[in-house]
Symmetry: C2
């Protein structure tokens, strides 16, 4: 099995991009619990009021990390000299030098709709290996899951009566750093966007790249008209004229002097509803009926929904800041929890049951039940060891890595995007409402509750 060629690149991460305690605990496990096989599951703790579902995203970066993670000599030297490690056996550093992830990974495919408590990724490995990777794994899945989910909402807003308006990610400048811009471009595409302005994301992930022009382009010329003409001279096949630099209506009038072959005009400020209606009239009247209207400027799913509902004749939306920062939900309780440990084939289940911190024990599988029309009805979380095939239900988690080796080809980004579309198509609309959507039913098998009760008795007895 080979990796997709559109990865971030082996050298874009370092082993020390982790929390210090992962490494001190690793040294501790090395001393006391080296033979323990642990299973950790990554899942969202609870659904925030402004989301009805999440789109799982980031597995490709997880896989890339797990297959390539190595400690460089300078990193080991840094740890060796770090005061935290002064009592740690030198053998531990030798272990780090030879570190390789040898575990097993199950995961839901990217683009899968997931709900709280459902494992997105499940890692089974010697406990040191499974522990060290936590921080990086959470960080690549967290941001991408947030942005893919946000993108799916924005695209949903831009789609009405079977007409899907174009949505492009314009957010790189306000993503949380350059790498976040790339991850957000990828996640936006997976969530349903048509492309991105981020050129690197275009090169590395083969995402279609889009661009128009900035106000600075207009302003660099003495006259708006010259700015329009010159751009069209050089880019006659893709000219999108930004018309709001001085006065939007006058800007459109000037655009009408350029050519009916310009691709679009872009509105970036003002009342986008009334301006787009006026612009459409002006364009049509002048015989520019093939010329599209693009809108941008602090857009989000709520504003786009409103524009579309009011029949704003806008053909495409450039969405930036709010998309790439998942502005109304910039973080979610995505956690990575120990669910069982194993030694000599004897399993000990692990769960937390303090208030607001409950977790479900054991290595799990999630089944999604479909109705006769293929729509999602409810999910069932079961222990994996006892789970069997079920009629009308899809098991969500599949094996991706076994003994440290990739055992499943990862899908292309186009395939992932299609998976998102199919998932969303099957999810009833009541779960897609932007605010206070209905709660999708996720059931937990009785045997898991039995284990919880046993664990509770044991803890109380201590």
């Amino acid at each position: 099995m080979t990796l997709s060629k559109f990865m971030l690149g082996k050298n874009n991460f370092v082993a020390l991009q982790t929390d210090l305690y992962q490494l001190t605990m690793a040294a501790g496990y090395f001393n006391f619990n080296r033979d323990l096989i642990a299973t950790f599951e990554m899942f969202i703790k609870r659904m925030p009021p402004n989301r009805g579902y999440f789109i799982a995203c980031g597995l490709e970066q997880v896989v890339e990390y797990l297959l390539n993670l190595k400690f460089k000599e300078e990193e080991i030297e840094f740890l060796r000299k770090h005061p935290s490690f002064k009592n740690v056996d030198q053998d531990f550093f030798k272990y780090l030098r030879d570190f390789k992830f040898n575990g097993e990974v199950w995961a839901v495919p990217e683009g899968t709709i997931i709900f709280p408590d459902e494992p997105i990724i499940q890692i089974t490995a010697p406990i040191i290996e499974a522990q060290i990777i936590e921080t990086y794994l959470l960080s690549v899945v967290h941001i991408q899951t947030l942005v893919a989910t946000k993108a799916s909402r924005v695209v949903h807003a831009a789609t009405k009566d079977g007409k899907k308006r174009v949505v492009v990610d314009f957010g790189s400048r306000r993503a949380h750093g350059p790498q976040a811009g790339i991850l957000a471009a990828r996640a936006s595409f997976i969530g349903g966007c048509d492309g991105t302005s981020n050129v690197y994301a275009g090169m590395k992930f083969n995402i279609p790249t889009y661009g128009t022009m900035a106000h600075s382009w207009i302003e660099s010329f003495d006259e708006e008209k010259a700015a329009f003409e010159n751009y069209f001279k050089l880019f006659p096949h893709l000219t999108v004229l930004l018309v709001d630099t001085y006065d939007t209506i006058k800007g459109i009038e000037k655009a009408l002097k350029i050519s009916p072959k310009i691709k679009a005009i872009r509105l970036d400020s003002g009342n986008l509803l009334s301006l787009s209606i006026k612009a459409r009239e002006m364009l049509d009247k002048a015989g520019f009926s093939e010329v599209k209207i693009m809108a941008s400027g602090n857009l989000n799913e709520y504003k786009i929904e409103e524009l579309v509902k009011n029949k704003a004749p806008i053909d495409s939306f450039g969405v930036g800041t709010e998309l790439v920062t998942s502005y109304d939900l910039p973080a979610v309780d995505l956690i990575y929890k120990l669910v069982q440990v194993e030694r000599n084939n004897s399993i000990r289940y692990i769960a937390k049951f303090s208030p607001n911190k409950e977790t479900l024990p054991g290595k799990k599988q999630v089944f999604r039940f479909l109705d006769e029309n293929g729509k999602y009805c409810y999910d069932l979380i079961e222990l994996k060891e006892n789970s069997e095939e079920k009629k009308n239900a899809i098991p969500l988690l599949e094996k991706i890595i076994e003994r440290g080796e990739l055992v499943k080809s990862l899908p292309s980004l186009d395939q992932i995007q299609k998976n998102t579309f199919n998932n969303l198509e099957s999810l009833p609309n009541k779960y897609k409402k932007f605010e206070n959507p209905e709660k999708y039913p996720v059931k937990v098998s009785p045997e898991i509750y039995k284990i919880i009760n046993k664990l509770k008795r044991r803890t109380n007895g201590r």
Copy 2:
């Protein structure tokens, strides 16, 4: 002048981490406006209601980028084959191959308090050079300015009656990607945090690193007591025991059996006020009076302020998600705007004056006026060319790069953190309120308004 040794590294960025339109406009400038010298200024457009000031942060990454930015062969090839560039002269790609930033950079030192409309960074360069860099510059300054500001609020909340409690960044797992975790660790330290859990940030930026233990460490042992004992065996000099895995009070009782030499206990859930009071009592009664109490778990400046106000005996706070994502303000209108262009020594000023999009024309300097006690009174934004030294006022912008070369040594991170402390010390408390703080007075010189009026007349006349 040399660069600090704690940079992200030349290879951590690529030229194509930018918006496509920067490069199409660059090709356009190459054709039509190659000789134009442009000045762009980066500033925050307006103050959001939940902030009273911002801490400028990210200049070091800007400098590193500008000194090292190059287009790699594969990047140029990608552009050459990109449909957008099909009419573009081959000379443009030759230009990119030899690209080097040759401009001038003025900036406020990192750790400086800034307000809307005040240039944080000012770039003067041939317009192509000044344009291409926009996306990257915004993205490294935006996230770091947000997080440094957030950190300063959290640290302010943790400081009372002259006692500064320890605050540590624990947020890497929920930062927007691994790189964002590193940038956030840096910015948190600059904003006043004592350290970070991010080991890579520790190695690269020399930030003190902190760590405790996770619930998984406790759970990996059959008994909580064994988990405590074994950790203390290996890390007797820095043991922080996490006591809330099963039952916090019982957890503290077990901690009291370990050793009065443990450094601290950590509370990660429940009512942190009552638990910390109870824990302090138990610790003191058992002769563990040197043992500190650390608190963590979805903390922010509001919760910490409340805890400190109610005299919770907490010595240190681990702050994660809300700090590194700047949760209550995950993005701000940080923009990079053309303020003047120059050709043959003739300057043309540029401003926008459409409603809500007003910008101030011309290359500017900001003066900060101090009262007799050294406290900040108000700021004055002036045209740089006419600005003179002023009594009781500090000019904020200083020259950093000239003709593409560094002309000022960048301060160490410790120096930057001290600059933040000094700035905050001089800012009256009324501007530091967490919600609806008073608006700090920023005046604009009359000559700038004169230019705006002239520009307005000119535009209306067209």
